[in-house]
């Protein structure tokens, strides 16, 4: 099992007795920031102990590394327009909706050019890009400093929400040494299963890690994704070779940079390998289809091995799922796994062909009256 990123699994849970919080300045945070906060506290974002200060941000933007030279590609930022804050203050961060409270020791309050941030992180300044739009929505000042989590409310699907400390414990108990992580935002079709099982063939276990959280209209609902994976795992995976746990974090759609970020998080969960597909974390045409593969060559010290998959499809001539390296047959024999097409079929209440999706998975999805976000 790899060491946590930066060599130490971070835990930022408040251990001491709490002082009177009524006197402390409060800063309201939204769900995205509180998810970042929980990921810092639970070690998913190790080695971060808090929100980035200027030097770290500058280094992440320019070098794709923290000031310590540790690879890090996505800025984890706290923005605020709260007045009367000073460096050295301790404030209370509060997300009432999700019951998250944490202390923040303010180390630095600073500004950063949003155009540079957008261009370097997303390779564009186009506000149509959802990540760029988010940057421009952020307030002008950023606050850097370490956090200490006070408490948080239990949320839906938390049974499936294992922390890196728990997954590392689980992998050790199962005797797994090499573990491949698979990230997903959709119910599994046959192509996903092919990719997962191909990778699993060479390691001890697979860690299926769906991203749960804010979705756009037409996406599958979180519960549908989890239940459909349960159906697949129950019927088509060895119980001792596959586990699933959710990850609450927002998608940034930063393509190649986000692929590195996703790999780092899975390394912190204890995984040795990470599956990277075509246009990983991409949106529209902002990135080349394999930019998210190429970027890994910049990080010899990442500490998790990427497994790259290009295109895959069902070949009627081969009689199996294939990829572009192993099948010599023409396109006419190939059925592509189109997520859009599968959604359309399911939306009509029909079961997709078993070439595309396992019957058990389709039936599970159709058990839901409303499988899609409306």
């Amino acid at each position: 099992m790899p060491r946590a990123h930066g060599n130490k699994l971070i835990s930022r849970h408040l251990k001491k007795e709490l002082q009177n919080l009524n006197e402390i300045t409060k800063i309201k945070i939204n769900t995205n920031v509180s998810e970042d906060l929980l990921n810092i506290a639970n070690g998913v974002f190790s080695p971060l102990k808090g929100f980035l200060c200027y030097n770290d941000l500058e280094n992440v933007v320019k070098e794709k590394r923290l000031e310590s030279d540790t690879p890090w590609t996505i800025p984890i930022l706290l923005d605020s327009d709260k007045k009367d804050l000073s460096e050295g203050d301790t404030v209370l961060l509060e997300d009432k909706e999700n019951g998250v409270r944490a202390l923040l020791d303010i180390e630095e309050i600073y500004t950063y050019d949003k155009k540079t941030l957008s261009q370097e992180i997303y390779r564009t300044q186009d506000v149509k890009h959802p990540g760029v739009a988010n940057i421009y929505k952020m307030r002008q000042k950023f606050i850097g400093g370490k956090i200490s989590l006070i408490d948080y409310k239990s949320r839906e699907f938390d049974d499936y929400n294992l922390s890196p400390k728990e997954t590392r414990f689980l992998f050790k108990e199962k005797g797994w040494k090499d573990i491949v992580a698979f990230q997903t935002r959709n119910p599994p079709h046959m192509g996903h299963e092919y990719v997962q099982k191909t990778a699993l063939t060479f390691v001890d276990g697979i860690f299926i890690n769906p991203i749960i959280g804010k979705k756009k209209t037409g996406d599958f609902r979180d519960e549908v994704i989890l239940k459909s994976y349960e159906a697949l795992m129950k019927n088509y995976y060895l119980k001792e070779r596959a586990v699933m746990s959710i990850l609450r974090t927002s998608m940034k759609y930063a393509g190649p940079r986000e692929a590195i970020h996703h790999a780092i998080m899975r390394k912190n969960y204890g995984c040795t390998h990470f599956i990277v597909g075509r246009d990983h974390a991409g949106v529209s045409n902002y990135y080349g289809p394999y930019d998210a593969h190429d970027i890994f060559s910049e990080f010899p010290d990442l500490g998790i091995i990427p497994i790259f998959f290009r295109s895959f499809s069902k070949c009627s001539k081969c009689g199996s799922v294939v990829n572009d390296k192993i099948c010599p047959h023409d396109q006419e024999y190939h059925i592509n796994f189109s997520g859009k097409k599968i959604r359309e079929i399911l939306r009509n209440g029909e079961i997709p062909s078993e070439d595309m999706m396992r019957k058990e998975v389709s039936e599970m999805i159709l058990k839901f009256e409303k499988p899609f976000v409306e």
Binding site: K62, E166, K174, P300, D301
Partner: protein, 78 residues
């Protein structure tokens, strides 16, 4: 408030000239745009393999049992 910060600092390391020449030839036509970039890459790779992990905090006995119960409920442990 930090509005402007110093640029990232670099340091100079001496290596034998002959080795430097070999490396320059080695990196021709690759993605490495300089001798420094290549040496940095190699050193990062080497150093990442020998850094020692600090001991992670283990679960207390009580917490370990709770985690085991949770993992059993998910069907991940017997």
């Amino acid at each position: 408030m930090a509005e402007e910060k110093e640029d990232k600092k670099f340091t100079t390391i001496s290596i034998p000239s002959q080795l430097a020449e070999k490396i320059k030839k080695r990196i021709e036509g690759t993605g490495f745009h300089s001798l420094s970039a290549y040496v940095t890459y190699v050193l990062r790779e080497v150093i990442s393999g020998i850094e020692n992990e600090e001991d992670d905090e283990a679960f207390s006995k009580e917490d370990e049992e709770k985690v085991k119960d949770r993992l059993r409920a998910l069907g991940y442990l017997d």
